[in-house]
Structures are given as C-alpha cells and as structure tokens.
C-alpha cells in the first residue's frame, strides 16, 4: 500500500503550466521513470534530496518552490 506523506508537491504545476513539459520528458531529464514523476506529483512518493534538486534545476527554481509542508509559514 502506498505511503501517505504530509508534503504538498507543486511539480505538476511547474511542469505543465510553466514549462509545458510531459511527464516522460521530465522523467528523461532527471533520469527516473514516468511512473516516479507521476507518483511525486500525486504525493504518493517523496523524492530524495538529490532528485528534488535535479527537478528544481530543470525548472530553474529553488526546491522550496516545488515542495512544501502544508500549513508551514514559508516566510519565517
């Protein structure tokens, strides 16, 4: 059964709305399967720090823009 984590992913938003990229394209860029990208976007899988940084690098944004803990004050 899939683990549920308290982390919200904004990967899908950046991938589709900002970069107009398919899941497969992003997967190829960061060296994982499309299913892994799908699971990250659905919140079913929390990527490692390394993978999160690679995704952030592809989008050209800080990793904090892609993942957040719900309810956390990010301005602190």
């Amino acid at each position: 059964m899939a683990q549920r984590h308290e982390i919200t992913s904004h990967v899908k938003l950046h991938r589709r709305q900002v970069h107009d990229m398919t899941q497969q394209e992003l997967a190829d860029r960061v060296g994982v399967t499309r299913q892994t990208i799908l699971s990250i976007e659905r919140g079913r899988y929390n990527p490692s720090v390394g993978l999160a940084l690679r995704i952030a690098e592809v989008f050209g944004v800080p990793v904090e823009d892609l993942f957040e803990i719900p309810g956390e004050n990010r301005d602190d």
């Binding site: 899939a2 399967t33 659905r42």
Partner: protein, 241 residues
C-alpha cells in the same frame, strides 16, 4: 511508447529477461524435470541479487524503495508463516513431516507478498490489478489451449470446439475485469473479494487431514484476487495516471 499503450507499463529489459526465464523455468519444471525449478528461481531472485552486488543498475530510487519495502513485508509474512507452520507440524496435528507442499506454500506466500507490495507501492491498486488479471487470464488461456492441443486426436472436432468455448468462458472474465478496473474500480474490487471468498469456500482445507495442498492452491488462486480487491476498495481515491 508502444509498450506503455500495450499494458500501461514499460518493463525494463532485465524485467523481461527475468520474466522469460521464470516462464521457461516453470515449463521445464512442469514438463521436463522437477529439479529444473531452479531455473525459475534464477529468474525470480537473480535480478535482485545482481542489483545488490551493483552489477545491474536498472531501477530508479522509487523502484528501489518499493522493492526494499516489499522485501520487509515478505520477510514478515514469510517468517510468520514459517513459524506457524513449524509450530503446527511439531504439535503433531498435521503430520510429523515437512513436505514439499509446505515449503512451496512458504515460498509462494513470500513471493506473492513481495510482488504485491512492490507493485501496489509503485503502480497503485488499479494498474496492479489490471496486470494481475491479465497475467491470470493469459496463464489460464495458455493452459487451456495446451490442454486442447494435446487432446486434438482423442476427441471429435465438435468436442474440441466445445472445449474452446468453455475456455473462453473461463478466461473471459479475467480480461473483462482487467478492463473494468479502470472504469469501475470499487465494483471490480468488491467482485474480486467475492470471487476470492468463493474460491476459499470451494478449495479451502475444510475437513481435510493435510492442509498443505489446499492452502497452496488458495495462496495461488484466491490470495492475489483478494489482495487486489482489498487494495482497490481501500486505495482507489488518489492514484493513476
């Protein structure tokens, strides 16, 4: 991708080779020599051993995490089953000897637990169920076709055609279920639980002296359907591409 459209999955080269070795091993075990089960074992455990030695690097981090988590689940289920069976056998109620069926039962439980845990974590309930039903249906189809071919000379054409029709009746529901799971996952889940319960009622060890064969049959027939059904009923909300 062609492979993705075929089954909604894109198996790795290592996965395909391992699957082929398992199928060949099972066929050799069934028709040539029981000792050749070792070939199927090489297909099941070989890729994992190669990955642990670092000689095969075909998985990403999510696949590795799913496989390792599944390994822990398989350890818990296989270990618990082994202790229960050993205790039962030593109590003298189920005969004093450890038979091949009991060992097969523990292996089957371990393998099925590993497979389901890994697939459910990685794919989610719907896709896992779909692939399991297609696999079940394909194996039944192969078995039935092989049986019909082997009996071609023994019966009339009409009898053989009747055999083909009967096989469609047996195999058809698996393929229908593989399709229906994407449209009506909860209904399909409930149907699978009912079918698994019927299997258990029909093939269970009720009133038998030696439970090993019945429990092995149940593990191979009912457990996959029951696991898929429960996973669909529990997890359908937040998954699938």
């Amino acid at each position: 991708m062609t492979e993705q459209k075929l089954l909604g999955i894109r198996p790795s080269t290592a996965g395909l080779v391992a699957g082929g070795i398992v199928v060949i091993g099972v066929l050799l075990w069934m028709f040539v020599n029981k000792g050749l089960l070792i070939v199927a074992g090489a297909g099941v455990f070989g890729p994992g051993i190669l990955r642990e030695f670092g000689w095969l690097n075909d998985q990403d981090e999510f696949q590795r995490q799913a496989a390792r988590r599944a390994g822990y689940h398989a350890w818990l289920v296989g270990g618990t089953a082994a202790v229960l069976i050993l205790s039962m056998l030593q109590s003298g109620k189920q005969g004093a000897e450890v038979s091949i069926e009991w060992i097969g039962l523990i292996l089957a439980l371990m393998w099925l637990t590993w497979m389901f845990s890994a697939l459910l974590t990685y794919w989610g309930a719907r896709r896992t169920t779909s692939v399991v039903l297609l696999t079940f249906g394909s194996f039944w189809l192969l078995f039935v076709v092989a049986t019909i071919i082997s009996e071609v000379g023994e019966y009339s054409l009409g009898t053989n055609l009747l055999g083909v029709l009967a096989s469609i009746t047996i195999v058809g529901p698996f393929f229908v279920g593989a399709w229906a799971v994407h449209r009506w996952p909860r209904v399909t889940g409930a149907v699978l639980v009912v079918i698994a319960s019927l299997f258990t009622w029909q093939f269970g060890p009720w009133g038998k002296d030696d439970w090993s064969t019945q429990l092995l049959t149940l593990t191979l027939l009912a457990l996959p359907l029951f696991a898929c059904g429960i996973a669909l009923l529990r997890n359908v909300g937040s998954e699938e591409s």
